[in-house]
Symmetry: C2
Subunit: 427 residues, 2 copies
Amino acid sequence: MTPLTLDTSLLAPTVTPAQIDQLSDQLATTHRHLLDGTCPGADFLGWRDWPDQDHHQLLDAIQQAASRIQQQSQALVVIGIGGSHLAGQAGLEFIHGSYHAPHVNGLPVYFVGHNLSSRAWLEIAARLRHQDWSLNVISKSGTTLEPGLAFAYFRSLLEKRYGAAARERIYATTDAHTGLLHDQAVGAGWSRFIVPDDIGGRYSGLTSVGLLPWAVAGLDIAAALQGASKAKNDLLSNLNLTNPAWQYAASRYLLCRAGKTLELFATYEPSLQLLGRWWQQLFGESEGKTNPVIFPATINYTQDLHSLGQFLQQGSKNMFETTFYLDEDATIPLTSSDVHHTWPYLDGKNLDFVQKQAHLATLQAHHQGGVPQLVFHLTQTSEFTLGYTLYFFEYACALSALLLGVNPFDQPGVQAYKEEMMRRLQE
Amino acid sequence: MTPLTLDTSLLAPTVTPAQIDQLSDQLATTHRHLLDGTCPGADFLGWRDWPDQDHHQLLDAIQQAASRIQQQSQALVVIGIGGSHLAGQAGLEFIHGSYHAPHVNGLPVYFVGHNLSSRAWLEIAARLRHQDWSLNVISKSGTTLEPGLAFAYFRSLLEKRYGAAARERIYATTDAHTGLLHDQAVGAGWSRFIVPDDIGGRYSGLTSVGLLPWAVAGLDIAAALQGASKAKNDLLSNLNLTNPAWQYAASRYLLCRAGKTLELFATYEPSLQLLGRWWQQLFGESEGKTNPVIFPATINYTQDLHSLGQFLQQGSKNMFETTFYLDEDATIPLTSSDVHHTWPYLDGKNLDFVQKQAHLATLQAHHQGGVPQLVFHLTQTSEFTLGYTLYFFEYACALSALLLGVNPFDQPGVQAYKEEMMRRLQE
């Protein structure tokens, strides 16, 4: 049984099953190019076979580091930006929830280095003052400005606190052979983990980039890789339109051609919102290099039914919704006298039932309002389904970008602001 | 001196100053209709004069309640959805920051009732198990499903814990005269605060809806109202295009007509991200009832320069950016040897300087990439500028929606999902 399925039945009338069927050959060709490495960006296909490789040594090394961090510290600071922090953060919320309940087996993790905010850095520094902590810096090169400056700052805090023993608390996830951070780590004797050469930032969540923070927070990282491996086997061998990644890529292609250039990734669980942010980077940075193309945005239900719901019902018609719905029940029974009095038909039901009806009502109302609907169903949240989900979208995004005719794995447009910023900083 | 200003110089060539000037008469007419109450939705203009009314008694009552809550509890749970929680939450982050540093004078506040997630409710319940807490339920009617069910659940937790004394810990912010929650509160003897009849949910941030949670968290709520009053006086008396709210409304109107139907509200401070969510509801729900109209989305820099930056540079050209930039320095000096070695030109500079150059570089790069730019500058974050900012956008949104020809204060489209959901729940 597959943990993630896709329902395309509410795409019509904008996109019809017959139209999707017509893309079958194009999808098969694109898939073949991904498999035989003849697609654009073929140097960055390392994510494709990653889950099936032998990672016993890597997992052991990560578990040892995580154990040491858990023994030495009450918190881990993770420094990274973009692909170096979104999957890590999304995975933690996926498992632990968004209200950061006290963890039984793991440590709280603070993510920094993805902004240039003195306020935010000082706030985190204040929280660290009264606890022991360790530091995981994640950067392929070490020269990206935000994590570079954050590392300089937090490392200096660590060294003021622990002196020479700070080196026992620094973990560098970086290039295997070269680069500023690699050289610093070798010179100082910090523990090192590798960002593979053939896996780009936004595809790196299942490497040490995500696995080390997850392990420190108490996640079962072997299960995450097993889930990704299951996704690989489900998806790469299913060469027809029963493949949900094919359906998703084909649907998006056709929706974009029909003028639906805004995709809203809707979740009903606060703990899935950061998965949406990871998804947003994945698709935005992979596809956003042609015109027209779909802008990926996120929406949080039921909250946003009371804000953007109005817009979806009666505003512009250039959008579609992709709901990522968790089918698993957590179950709060609705038994109080208030419920009995005001909503008697809910008496004896539970909160998950209400959420599900809100979801189904929203699908129908927005579909009738002219917004095509895609619906993913996830059976449950676990490390296994986390790995499955990340791999699913990585593969689907590669397919989708290639259908659009762009290289899924580069980001030439990010250079423009970097170059302009560097020019200004050196003035 | 005004704490919030707008720079429109990077709208050209999409929108020119001459085009904005041509809207002057239309803006003056719209403004007059707002002032004399002849615009659509005139029953909901209570927000307009609210900051200048005599609120001494209200402020005293809120401060007394806040003091009692602070004495009795270590946390406050606030239950509300949409307009009943976004301003409250945004204001807390605006002042306290997004990493929830321990508060000197106030309590932590948990917001619930804006989703139907058993997971999230159980997580918060787990956190409350080991501390004393009080409850503020915010609902005009008491029959909105999400906060209604959340209130039933958390109230039952409170009553299990404190028995009859739970009533000393419940604060209802609701209608003055009628409704389920009003009647419950009167019957049970809970403390009551009022949602004014002539102020809609998304315009209610500066009423008891926002003020009570802010006061409990230690914010200076009198200063927030003073800031709003300053905004009112600055904006309502300035009848020409030097009025930044007129500029903003006119710019959005022209950008929408030029096909720019996606607005990205960009912030560089994590503590301003929830202000963006409040802004998103305000504009989305006020304007999203015609076509074409601008979809409001938020973007967090510099993080998203490493994700959506690619899209802005080279993707679809149907968007513009509205940056909300904080000019105040918090100042982390860049003095470490790492900085000296890798970025020698930054030696002796501070982090705010780098953030500012990133901001200016982004403006230029995205403008050259074909994305028109609006830039708000905020002098500092304080309760005064919080009140100023909320009032500014309330007024600007009313103007903007009226220019589009829609009623800024209703939300007929929200009914569709509500009715469908109720039908399903009662099946």
